[in-house]
């Protein structure tokens, strides 16, 4: 069942079409990978879907409701939560207070937020730093904290923008485990990442973008073997003749 339907989305910055007639759907309970080379428009699509940009044309529907152009805070209240490539935490509050504030922003009481914050701190292995200001945490710890802030009240859709970029492998494993556990519980994810092994490991389907357009969509392995996808990542595939799969897209 489709949870989010994106139809003919356009976004232009000046004369540049950052998102050009993008359509795809996100199904209930899946992890959908949104992939593509740098500058392909993935983050702009996330900005459009999470309310930080308004599309020039096109429509976004969540179930039967048109949510096109809805503000980010209203979308968050409806359960469309977003994680950023550059983490967005409240730097002068403790990690624990960040979770508490995120919970209360989603309408939880202080006592309930406190209870859930404790559980998340433990699950995300943040106990040693929970009373430090978020500004003092490492990049990886901040990403874990942002995960917690997204999940303190279960979201309908979690949009994760490069959650594994520049993160220590141990923390990457904690994040991947966290995503798998939540997926097993039926949560829906839209995952933007350059990390192909992780994408293959976590996602069932993928959408690949290049130059603002969707160039392939479907089952993950078929997308990664698509000629246009290979060309978008590595240039003309003729130059890679003799190889079954370009190394960067090899599926282990």
């Amino acid at each position: 069942m489709s949870l989010l339907t994106i139809e003919g989305l356009f976004a232009h910055f000046g004369g540049v079409a950052a998102v050009d007639n993008v359509s795809f759907d996100l199904r209930q309970g899946e992890i959908l990978g949104l992939i593509g080379p740098n500058g392909s428009g993935k983050t702009t699509v996330l900005n459009l879907l999470s309310g930080f940009l308004t599309p020039d044309a096109g429509q976004v529907r969540m179930r039967d409701e048109n949510i096109t152009g809805m503000s980010a805070d209203r979308l968050a209240q409806r359960g469309v939560l977003r994680m950023f490539q550059m983490t967005r935490v409240f730097t002068r509050m403790s990690a624990f207070d960040n979770l508490l504030t995120a919970g209360m922003a989603r309408g939880l009481s202080e006592s309930e937020s406190t209870r859930r914050a404790h559980a998340l701190i433990e699950e995300l292995t943040l106990e040693p730093v929970q009373y430090l200001n978020a500004g003092q945490l490492s990049g990886g710890q901040r990403k874990l904290l942002e995960f917690g802030m997204c999940f303190i009240e279960p979201p309908l859709i979690a949009m994760l923008d490069e959650p594994f970029a520049a993160v220590h492998p141990v923390m990457r494993d904690v994040m991947a485990k966290f995503i798998r556990a939540r997926h097993a519980q039926g949560f829906t994810f839209l995952l933007v990442s350059h990390d192909m092994p992780i994408i293959v490991d976590l996602c069932q389907r993928a959408v690949c973008m290049n130059a603002g357009r969707v160039i392939a969509a479907g089952e993950i392995r078929s997308v990664l073997q698509n000629h246009d996808v290979i060309e978008a990542y590595l240039g003309d595939s003729e130059t890679h003749s003799g190889q079954d799969h370009p190394p960067a897209l090899e599926v282990h």
Partner: protein
């Protein structure tokens, strides 16, 4: 060891206790200060402490840099004065009216400017402050212009006035504490730390800024109204940009984002400015230099230094 479940509230409680200790010490000052002039000076320092608390709520806790706190004090003072002068409204109504009118002005200005951020918000509030001052100064028929207006007083007893101001300071402090320890305080700090992050968590950023702005304006309005009744004269000088500069210095030097810092800064900087008066018109030069030094090297302000020592000793 008992686990700390809520660091922000722990910090806030510590800050509030310290603020109450500072106020208690200020309350004892009349015992060591002689003469009506000296009493007047410490009274005005409490007026500035209230203004500093009001501006700190907006700048220190919400991250919105308005350059109009003195203008709102002036509007509050004129509200009470005009009600008294034209309609003989008693001060018991005129002072609360100043709170309401400044909150309404804050709401109107906020609607225009709170979608803006950074230098645009500051520039727009600066423009508003100057326009308000010039309009009041030039409306001779209605406000008597630069001559100022006479206002009724609550009492002729200067010591009683001192404790009225101190009471107002405690009330404002209690209200801010109550706001900060709840959901609104958390959301204000979230907006200060990262407005985009706050919005992505479901916080209506413009609404939170608006609430903080209106409350901050009404605190300045209350302070201005009380000051007018004390001096029995209100004039456009109350809204001078120099007054705003003084309030900013008080908060930055005292400690931004701290209740104790704002009160400490308010009192110390005003007393310092009175002391510097003997050396010529150099107060703003000295405070501007101090603001640069504090902003660059001691961002926590005087209170930040004291709190670090106290908390270090506690732990």
């Amino acid at each position: 060891m008992k686990p700390i479940h809520n660091l922000w509230q722990e910090r806030l409680r510590f800050d509030m206790r310290a603020a109450l200790v500072i106020i208690a010490l200020i309350g004892l000052l009349p015992a060591v200060v002689y003469g009506p002039y000296a009493l007047g000076i410490i009274l005005v320092s409490v007026y500035f402490a209230i203004l500093a608390l009001g501006w700190n709520l907006l700048a220190g806790y919400t991250g919105q840099f308005s350059l109009a706190p003195a203008a709102f004090a002036m509007i509050g003072a004129y509200t009470t004065a005009l009600l008294d002068h034209y309609w003989q409204v008693p001060l018991a109504l005129g002072i609360p009216a100043a709170i309401v009118v400044t909150a309404l002005f804050g709401l109107m200005l906020g609607k225009l400017v709170l979608n803006l951020s950074g230098p645009y918000l500051s520039l727009t509030t600066l423009a508003f402050a100057e326009i308000a001052r010039v309009v009041i100064g030039n409306s001779h028929e209605f406000t008597r212009g630069d001559q100022g207006m006479h206002v009724a007083t609550l009492t002729d007893n200067r010591l009683a006035y001192y404790y009225i101001f101190l009471f107002a300071l405690v009330v404002v402090l209690a209200c801010i504490y109550w706001l900060l320890k709840g959901k609104l305080g958390r959301f204000m700090m979230a907006v200060r730390d990262d407005p985009v992050g706050a919005e992505s968590r479901g916080i209506n950023v413009v609404r939170i800024k608006m609430i903080a702005f209106c409350i901050s304006c009404s605190i300045c309005g209350l302070a201005g109204s009380l000051y007018g009744t004390f001096s029995q004269l209100v004039s456009p000088e109350l809204g001078l940009l120099q007054q705003t500069g003084l309030i900013l210095s008080m908060v930055v030097i005292g400690g931004m984002g701290s209740l104790s810092g704002a009160i400490l800064g308010g009192v110390l900087i005003y007393l310092g400015s009175e002391w510097l008066r003997g050396f010529g018109d150099i107060q703003m030069i000295v405070f501007a230099l101090l603001v640069i030094v504090f902003a660059r090297y001691i961002p926590g302000g005087l209170w930040g230094m004291v709190a670090a020592r106290l908390q270090g000793r506690r732990s």
